[in-house]
Symmetry: C2
Subunit: 120 residues, 2 copies
Amino acid sequence: MFDPANLQFDRDGLIPCIAQDAASGEVLMMAWMNAQSVSRTLQTGRVTYWSRSRAALWVKGESSGHVQELVELRIDCDRDCLLALVNQTGPACHTNRRSCFYTSIREGSEQTIMQPVEGG
Amino acid sequence: MFDPANLQFDRDGLIPCIAQDAASGEVLMMAWMNAQSVSRTLQTGRVTYWSRSRAALWVKGESSGHVQELVELRIDCDRDCLLALVNQTGPACHTNRRSCFYTSIREGSEQTIMQPVEGG
């Protein structure tokens, strides 16, 4: 059986988790998990991070409704990074954009390549 | 002009960088960069991480030939995570698998879902 204790957490007890849209392959965001949030994510099927600013479990979309339904959780070779394939409801980013990675460096300058979702 | 100093590095001066296959959308790996490796990556078009174990710049594929040609570098909303869209030569993982995320948690157990590339 999988045990979150066998992951490699950093000195703060956290592991980065990349959320990828299971259908489109778009990388939506990266946030952090602790052992408890990994367990909750697997138990509930609802992606649950650890909020470093609030120092609390963060059920993604709990207040905004922009939930992430877990399709599959994967572990990398070093066991120190997770990849969550998700069904994302609405925008993943708090700026109302589909993805947090909406800034691109092009010809040496930052460009915004994605707009907020209307009524998101 | 973009200045790596305007990114949010952690207390070790590092920022996580997700490498995604620009053509297929597959998430290949996650590794770390410091300001110098961000600059080198943009200058050379060859993805260059910071090896925490060797405490040195790590030009991906320099010894293996499994290089990552940078297509585009993106920054997330908090400026504390990078997404590199890349053209990956050969496998990205040191286990000779295309991606480092070859272990999946299915029905509570870890399963290997990807095999090493032959002759990779």
